[in-house]
Symmetry: C2
């Protein structure tokens, strides 16, 4: 049975409404999950290690007397790495090297050294950049165990200069994922605890006798983890709460349609809520892609997920021309944007909003997911309008530096006092005026 | 009656516990306020302008037939600027110029041009930086009307390249603050609406027939505004939800004690929950500061607020030496840190966590609040451990750029496929393998 994939024409009068309906996604939280996460957090805050052990026993059927018994040592991480098949180990190592190289470049080019400048009167102003002290990385256990996520979350933190990266990963029934442990070894993760859920988030945020408190928690997780992260935000920093993954392909109609079909599949296979959309000015080409989709689907092991995703959330959209495609891409602000076209840079220059852009026919999203170098943790659900890929900057913070000279205090003191009186803040004004040389107290 | 300000000794065995108690602040949200904000947001989302008009009538006693009637035109902003007393107008203009100059430097020095580099096989990787399209700035009305906040929120957005900055400011009973309007004129705010509360946040987040939706909302507000901002986060970006303001002064005991007392006042006068703390190795100097506090308090118009703040949340702490003071400052991670000492840079080098550092005896925090140049929107409540002053970077976002050459697709495709098979994602693997030249489909 062929996939019934939505076909739209962007020149239709009601296209804007159709697009809004297509992109709509109910991200509302489940109150029961939120309340449950809140209770677990409060319990971990109050009882520390004992609470972590209780929940790990209950949810992961893992019986330990101490949290220390749930820690995986560096020797076990290294052993996991050593026992990988050579080809897989080499692939993981090359991916890690490339991710590190990109993020090193990001650190160099993006003001990580801070700056300072001196004004004529000797006043020095600047910005100091420092890494976070300690970061927690949540790695999901069970079926969706992604070693690439370990690399993408841990490496930017280490490149930023974070001293201690603590990874938590649930191991239900004690089953460990060796590829995840190997990735932790390669990424330079400092400590690993086999705990998960809201209890792991609470342990990282508040600290326990065994687990030191971190300054920020990053990494994907299920609804309980997301709810717990929202609740500890402020006590620690968190990354974005990710929505379903998305790919938007702009194609000029000259790429092998099988390639485009498979690129759409590669997003759709993540889960039923993932979204794959194609924009193309050529309706005949769209039909070819549709034919490829229907011919290739049966060969995919995850065809059920792909079918549901493409049927419910996919779309093939005819646009007037490539410029029109770019306009629509800016409205969609996709997590992943492939521009599969000749001379793609001209179209990339028109794109203001996208998490990552994949330019040219050879830049399949899958390369970026694993080993191109840039981060695969990207803003979803149109948040690329205001947020960025995970990066070194997420593991650094800035402090303003203000060194006012005696001469500077004379001019600035009068200005500050004038404005402070205007705001009714007299102590502010007096504090500035005290530094005036001729101030009569 | 002298102020009973807490005196601690950082060498005491239980100092850590005392410090934790001192810093503890209950930031828990009020459920009733949160529910009320949620209802208002839902109503604004559903009814748009009509809901905004209803709430403005109810909460601000401002009766308008249309939201357009609540907009303040550029001519009125310019008029507000022109009618200011010349001295105040000049002060505001100089402050704006200095804030702009600092943020221009921040933009130049911090990677705003993005970067790209080409690998040996022709693959190009990089990062594109773009400003947000449209930003909303919330400015509180009523008693705490701060024109300096207008400058500090709007100028970095305009420097970042945001095309449209929309300010909302409630004007209960129709009373406008001319200094706030003048600041909007100087800062280059594009549109101003006299609306406030959760209804203004909803209008900016969802858009109405009259008010276009923004991509991010920044600026301080009351508990309803904070609750509404938390709830629209994800639909739009938001800045940090600010806690009470704090100052931490490290003094070597050689600054005029009146200066330090007034600096502590300048924070305490903000509100009863503000926190002022002094660290000093010299107990005799601490007694001098205490004497100054008691002598100067009566002369402050806001002495009641200052007394409550210093009594409930202030502290004078004796430390072993200046290095010890820096260690404690890193635990406190203060919003404002003054290092009032000879050769302050040596101590600043030891500070990892602070929103802004004010170095030397002449760098009173008040200068930074108004006109030094760096932003006065700073991380509070120990969040300087993981977050930064408001800056140009808050109004920009990054997109990863990935242009894989045909040659690059050969090497990277094999690595990606190997790892994708390891994660059980076959469409990812096939999508990479399609780009291999010798791939047999």
């Amino acid at each position: 049975m062929p996939i019934k994939i939505r076909k739209l024409n962007a020149s239709d009068a009601d296209f804007q409404a159709q697009l809004s309906a297509l992109l709509a996604f109910d991200a509302s939280e489940d109150d029961a999950i939120d309340q449950s996460a809140a209770q677990i957090l409060a319990d971990v805050k109050a009882r520390g290690d004992a609470a972590v052990l209780d929940y790990t026993r209950r949810f992961d059927r893992l019986d330990a007397d101490t949290v220390t018994a749930l820690e995986i040592g560096q020797d076990e991480l290294q052993a996991a790495l050593l026992q990988l098949a050579p080809e897989r180990r080499a692939a993981l190592q090359t991916a890690a090297d490339r991710v590190r190289a990109y993020h090193e470049r990001q650190k160099q080019e993006c003001g990580s050294d801070g700056f300072s400048y001196t004004e004529a009167d000797g006043t020095v102003l600047g910005q100091k950049v420092t890494p976070l002290d300690r970061v927690g990385i949540y790695v999901p256990g069970g079926k969706a165990a992604y070693p690439s996520s370990v690399l993408m979350n841990a490496i930017p933190a280490k490149v930023a200069g974070v001293q201690e990266v603590i990874m938590v990963v649930p191991t239900p029934d004690g089953v460990k994922n060796e590829l995840v442990l190997a990735a932790a070894a390669i990424a330079g993760v400092d400590r690993v605890f086999t705990i998960g859920g809201a209890q792991a988030v609470g342990a990282l945020a508040y600290g326990t006798a065994t687990i030191p408190p971190v300054d920020k928690i990053v990494g994907p997780g299920n609804a309980y983890v997301a709810a717990a992260k929202r609740r500890v935000f402020g006590t620690v920093g968190i990354d974005m709460i990710a929505g379903p993954s998305e790919i938007l392909v702009i194609c000029d109609g000259t790429t092998d349609p099988d390639w485009i079909a498979m690129d759409l599949f590669s997003q759709a296979e993540h889960d039923e809520l993932a979204q794959s959309i194609l924009l193309c000015p050529d309706p005949a080409y769209i039909d070819q892609v549709e034919a490829s989709i229907n011919r290739l689907l049966a060969g995919m092991p995850r065809h059920d997920i792909i079918r549901t995703s493409l049927t419910n959330r996919g779309a093939l959209i005819t646009v007037r021309d490539m410029a029109h495609a770019c306009d629509i891409a800016n409205l969609i602000a996709a997590e992943h944007l492939e521009i599969s076209a000749a001379e793609p840079q001209q179209w990339a220059d028109r794109i203001r909003h996208a998490g990552a852009m994949f330019l040219g026919r050879f830049s399949s999203e899958a390369l970026g997911d694993y080993c191109a170098g840039p981060n695969h943790v990207l803003p979803t659900s149109r948040t690329a309008r205001f947020s960025s890929p995970l990066g070194v900057y997420d593991f650094q913070k800035r402090s303003s530096m203000i060194f006012i000279s005696e001469a500077g205090a004379q001019t600035l003191g009068r200005i500050a006092a004038e404005l402070a009186y205007g705001e009714g803040l007299q102590a502010h004004a007096r504090s500035a005026e005290y530094r005036l040389n001729n101030d009569a107290k």
